[in-house]
């Protein structure tokens, strides 16, 4: 890009009163930049000035004014680089002259006077200039082949709903189902829970009419008796191999080595070459992940709707409830099968089951429901109670629960079933189910009746849960170097869920969106709605891939990581650390990029020890240059030079928190210089080394929470940063620098009031260590 620079400094909002704007401008004009100032750049004249300059060819603007978080459209010019220098919030508002005195008339030319605020502004301007020199406008990545077809895995109510929803929006869909027929679990029921207001009665399963509706869309292809053997490629351009369930084919997806196979006899991790040899042996007969199936089908995005299976109690589980000791104690799934086949009868002797007890909780001192139950089993018990009443005029259903989990509008169903005189409900802990002649006795304590109860039952139904398909099998079978499954589903108990309350479809695999029972235990109504959401995300992803832009959270980002492979040492750190599995490796171990899988976080850039990964507008060099642009005063400049501390801060939460702190008139130490980064995961240790070798006294990283409740929108960013920072401690010691000079802080976006103290404490630590011995060299 042929850059024509323009530097613009605004006087408004207190900037002119606090800073010597003329002197600030000289920082740039001394370097040969054209500098203009304006009383209010966002006012009519200011905007005219900018527009005129842009029309005259200025395409790289450095605007020293308010935060980039405000006036984003006022200072946006197509085809131009615009770098905002946050003078207002993060310099002037947060460092009032009442605290950091401005030089008096006499002091203005006194070179020994330390004007902290002016120095801060100068540094930030210099950093911006250094950055703009190094960055470019991005060119979007264009897929060579692209398709809008959507793959739906799972032909139950969720998959069918997703396929119909995508087709209604004009997309072609292939729906693949492992069983011989569509329908999934819903096709096995007598009735289903109501899907519409007033939610009072069970209804005939909608699945058959949905299957019929599916058939009316010519753009939907149905493949039954089929599973996905492997999904290779990237959003917009996935290559999928199908096969029959149980078949072994060469395009079965390779699995990573299980942990125990990665070690030798003494328990030490094997060398890379040996690991690779074992990996090949382990996956013998399978084609490697980089070879695409010439007969594979092309898809743009995937909806995972593989559903659930009934919980299978283990041998000896729930014997206190009679399971396994008599055939007349069944699970709710088994009960439903019986009910769908005809009148409910006792499995032991085929007699009528007129007294049925539904046990909602396994008891034993706990008030939880059975595992994987969510709030569905409470509703299912109510539904199944109506079967008993349907089959026998004198039938009785007893529901013993700890909590009737019928939230929201499903409360209406609970109320309606309670009206039936043949249905009895009580809170209670079922202590024992035992044989009583030909029948059973159910004993319960802590009931609402004020005393323990005993119920004679023909049949007992345990409200066991719905286990997601992803517990047993990766299902999506991604031909990705990180493995075929979603990573980290363990925190969701193996459901294919998202860790974000605000963004329920963001999984760790771009282009793959889960819906229905595989994502959470949910009702049919919820599943059909969920299907629409996942279908939307699938459409959005492939359309974004086609435009060359990233999806959430960096929606619209046109940059993508660029690799200088000639210097790659095949260390594989980027391949392993990418939270989204966007990198595979080729035959030599060099990473292979898949740009549309990428979310542009830069974790790879932070990981690379050779520093070969960069983005058009965010690179090792651009940030290093910013670090090096900071003036580090030494004893050559002042008798007592102020400290200089670098803060690499997450632009998603820490940066806004600083703005808000400033708006709330909070201040922080004036010796700190911030550089916002896309994610702490993108922090390369070279920046820390650059800062310290320049003589900066300390470096800290500030970003989001990690752990099971992680907030980081790139999953592991702050966690990885912490690991890297710990490792740098060793490197620092070899330079005779104290590891305490580098630290990491966790801050949430609403904890802006804690930041000043955090910084002050760190500065205190640094003051205790003394200035960096490398200063002034």
């Amino acid at each position: 890009m042929n850059k024509k620079y323009g530097v613009y400094i605004c006087h408004g909002c207190g900037i002119g009163e606090s800073l010597n704007v003329e002197k600030l401008g000289e920082v740039a004009s001394d370097e040969g930049y054209a500098v203009k100032t304006c009383p209010a750049l966002c006012g009519k004249e200011g905007i005219e000035l900018l527009k005129t300059d842009v029309a005259a060819g200025v395409n790289s603007l450095i605007i020293g004014a308010c935060s980039p978080r405000v006036l984003y459209d006022t200072f946006r010019f197509d085809g131009c680089i615009v770098e905002r220098v946050n003078l207002r919030e993060q310099v002037v508002w947060s460092h009032p002259r009442a605290t950091w005195a401005a030089p008096t008339e006499e002091q203005k030319d006194d070179e020994t006077f330390i004007d902290h605020v002016q120095m801060m502004a100068s540094d930030y301007l210099k950093m911006a200039l250094a950055k703009v020199e190094k960055i470019n406008l991005p060119e979007p990545y264009k897929l060579e082949t692209f398709t809008r077809k959507i793959l739906v895995i799972g032909g139950g109510i969720t998959g069918i709903s997703a396929a119909i929803d995508a087709a209604k929006a004009g997309y072609e869909v292939t729906i693949v189902e492992k069983e011989a027929a569509l329908g999934g679990n819903a096709a096995k029921w007598r009735k289903q829970l109501p899907t519409d207001y007033p939610y009072e009665k069970p209804m005939a399963p909608v699945i058959q009419s949905k299957i019929k509706e599916l058939g009316s869309y010519p753009g939907i292809t149905v493949k039954t008796g089929t599973v996905v053997a492997r999904i290779a490629g990237q959003p917009g351009d996935f290559t999928v191999t199908f096969k029959k369930p149980g078949e072994k084919i060469e395009f079965d997806v390779p699995f990573p080595l299980p942990p125990e196979m990665r070690l030798d006899e003494s328990g030490k991790e094997l060398e890379a070459e040996k690991l690779h040899a074992r990996y090949l042996e382990y996956n013998q007969g399978k084609v490697d992940i980089l070879t695409f199936d010439p007969n594979g089908e092309k898809f743009g995005a995937v909806v995972l709707a593989a559903g659930w299976r009934p919980y299978k109690p283990a041998e000896g589980e729930y014997t206190h409830l009679g399971l396994g000791t008599t055939p007349d104690v069944v699970t709710n799934a088994q009960f439903e099968e019986m009910a769908a086949a005809g009148k409910i009868k006792r499995p032991s002797d085929g007699k009528e089951a007129k007294s049925v007890v539904f046990v909602q909780s396994p008891g034993q001192g706990q008030d939880q429901d059975f595992p994987y139950a969510a709030s569905v089993t409470s509703l299912v018990a109510l539904k199944q109670a109506t079967y008993v009443r349907e089959d026998y005029a004198d039938g009785k259903a007893f529901i013993i629960y700890q909590h009737m989990r019928t939230p929201g509008m499903t409360e209406n169903f609970y109320k309606a079933v309670q009206q039936d005189p043949g249905v009895f409900l009580t809170k209670g802990q079922v202590t024992k189910v035992s044989k009583n002649g030909a029948g059973l006795i159910v004993e319960a304590d802590d009931t609402l009746l004020g005393q323990p109860i005993q119920i004679k039952a023909d049949l007992v139904v345990l409200a066991t849960g719905m286990v997601p398909a992803t517990k047993d099998d990766p299902v999506i079978n991604l031909a990705y170097r990180q493995g075929p499954a979603f990573r980290d589903n363990a925190i969701f108990n193996d459901y294919a869920d998202s860790n974000y309350i605000c963004f329920p479809y963001e999984t760790q695999r771009t282009g793959i969106y889960a819906a229905g029972g595989v994502r959470r235990s949910m009702t049919t109504e919820e599943a059909m709605e969920d299907a629409a959401g996942a279908a939307l995300k699938a459409i959005q992803c492939l359309e974004s891939a086609n435009r060359g832009v990233a999806v959430h959270p960096r929606s619209g980002d046109l940059t993508f990581p660029d690799f200088f492979f000639q210097r790659c040492t095949q260390c594989k750190r980027c391949t392993q650390e990418c939270p989204f599995g966007a990198l595979d490796d080729d035959e030599r171990g060099t990473p292979k990029t898949n740009p549309t899988r990428c979310r542009r976080c830069g974790t790879c850039m932070g990981a690379c020890p050779e520093r070969i990964i960069n983005f058009a507008n965010y690179s090792i060099d651009s940030v290093s240059s910013m670090v090096k642009a900071i003036k580090v005063p030494s004893t050559d400049d002042f008798d007592e030079p102020p400290l200089r501390i670098l803060g690499l801060i997450c632009e998603n939460d820490a940066y806004p928190a600083l703005d808000i702190a400033a708006m709330n008139k909070l201040s922080w130490n004036a010796d700190v210089r911030f550089i916002p980064v896309r994610c702490l995961g993108s922090v390369n240790v070279i920046w820390i080394k650059d800062a310290l070798s320049k003589g900066m006294d300390g470096v800290f990283l500030m970003g989001c929470k990690h752990g099971d409740d992680y907030q980081c929108h790139f999953v592991k960013g702050s966690e990885l940063a912490e690991i890297r920072v710990k490792k740098i401690g060793e490197a620092l010691s070899s330079l005779a620098l104290e590891p305490e000079r580098v630290a990491q802080f966790q801050v949430a976006i609403d904890e802006y009031d804690k930041i000043p103290q955090m910084l002050q404490e760190f500065v205190g630590t640094i003051e205790g260590l003394g200035p960096n011995p490398f200063k002034g060299f």
Partner: protein
């Protein structure tokens, strides 16, 4: 004039309501490539969640997700945000709606730099609706620090008074325009998604629960404001009557929900909200006694179950199954008495506590403000979705009581339903 079948198709979508659901629908549709008008009646986006301190179960700040969504709006020219705006009229059918949107005057124009000089110049205070009247603010204000759009507002209550003049004179950027008039925009869109959200049910209606009779009986939403760092007490949960720390606190679940006399349905979030608020109290007061009176504890799903399990481990949190019959002041003791029957043991409880939180339910906004346009609602005011007809849809709590996760799922799905309307016609 024209044959209905040949009505012109408009390619844009209108989302009514800029809370978390409306934001989600708008953004998801815009990022597929459609033009969206986001119409919000408040001066800020974020709705109810902007008033919350944290979300359950992760105890994370709502502003995190809101900030990401605001950035997505900033980066997407296809979304047009209208604040201070309400839909007055909707005519037409799926694929072609003529919508009249009334925009109320903010009295602050685009010159606003958020410098805050107008706030400082004002000398009188008004009650803050955002804080349910628990805080006094100046009549010229920024709704909250992370408000988007980042622009001040002048409350109509001070327009025409001296304070308004003071605000105008203090503004160096000529951003205060006391002559601003309401205006009506006529927009043509192909689909409308109602994301009008909910209002907290009026706790005064439950006479026996004592709201309004004693300052220390508050609602769950008021508790959120107390706990929020930007709230009336900078995040300290204290007794409104005297500012003291509560040594004991009772949560009354289903306060007005699951009750034929008030709201017959379950409001979905109140169990989890109270559990979450118990963690707020515990974080500030390690020894405080917390009593939770419930009918059923609804913590559906794996993550919610785990959250509940953790709270159960706390030896100073007591769960009592029993619908609260009465909440009243014990003047002699200076405390509040909660009366309930323990449904399992049968004993009648008179629990003395220093503070009571009524877990009041949610009422759909459409129940209290009739919506223009041919929307079908349930008797409780929730908007029904009729996919066969299409064209207009309801997202989030406008459709049914739900938590943020479910609302966002639903809102994402409604974006697709809206797109289907545009595509099919």
């Amino acid at each position: 004039m024209t044959d209905e079948k040949a009505a012109p198709v408009s390619g844009s979508i209108m989302v009514v309501g800029g809370g978390i659901s409306g934001l989600t629908t708008a953004l998801e549709a815009a990022e597929v490539g459609y033009e969206v008008f986001l119409v919000e009646k408040n001066p800020y986006l974020g709705g109810r969640v902007a008033q919350l301190n944290q979300y359950f179960p992760k105890l994370c700040p709502p502003t995190c997700g809101l900030e990401i969504n605001f950035k997505r709006i900033k980066d997407n020219p296809r979304i047009k945000v209208l604040t201070m705006a309400e839909v007055e009229k909707v005519e037409g059918g799926p694929g072609n709606y003529a919508v009249a949107v009334k925009v109320r005057p903010r009295y602050v124009n685009e010159n606003c730099t958020c410098c805050g000089a107008c706030t400082e110049a004002c000398q009188t205070e008004i009650a803050s609706d955002f804080d349910f009247g628990m805080k006094q603010i100046k009549g010229a204000y920024l709704p909250f620090a992370m408000a988007f759009p980042a622009r001040y507002v002048i409350d109509p209550r001070i327009v025409g008074t001296e304070d308004a003049q003071r605000a105008k004179e203090a503004c160096k950027y000529d951003a205060v325009d006391l002559e601003m008039q309401p205006k009506t925009l006529n927009l043509n869109v192909g689909a409308v998604v109602w994301a009008t959200g909910w209002v907290p049910y009026d706790a005064k209606k439950m006479d026996n629960l004592g709201f309004g009779k004693h300052k220390n009986i508050i609602t769950n939403m008021m508790m959120e404001r107390l706990a929020a760092p930007n709230g009336p007490t900078q995040g300290k949960v204290i007794r409104p009557s005297d500012g003291k720390a509560p040594a004991s606190i009772a949560f009354v679940q289903c306060a007005g929900s699951r009750d034929e006399n008030y709201l017959p349905y379950c409001s979905y979030i109140c169990c989890m909200a109270s559990l979450k608020q118990a963690t707020y109290v515990r974080a500030q007061y390690p020894e405080a006694k917390i009593y939770i009176f419930y009918i059923d504890l609804r913590a559906p799903g794996y993550r919610y179950e785990k959250f509940y399990e953790n709270i159960k481990k706390d030896p100073n949190v007591f769960f009592i199954k029993g619908k609260v019959a009465e909440v009243s002041e014990d003047k002699a003791a200076g405390s509040i008495t909660v009366v309930a029957e323990n449904a399992v043991t049968g004993e009648k409880i008179h629990q003395a506590v220093e503070m009571v939180v009524l877990a009041t339910g949610m009422q759909p906004t459409a129940a209290v403000n009739k919506l223009p346009g041919a929307v079908k609602t349930t008797p409780d005011g929730f908007i029904l979705n009729d996919y066969a007809v299409g064209g207009m849809f309801a997202a989030g709590c406008a459709n049914k009581p739900a938590d943020v996760v479910s609302s966002n799922q639903n809102a994402t799905g409604m974006a697709l339903k809206a797109i289907q309307t545009l595509v099919r016609r």
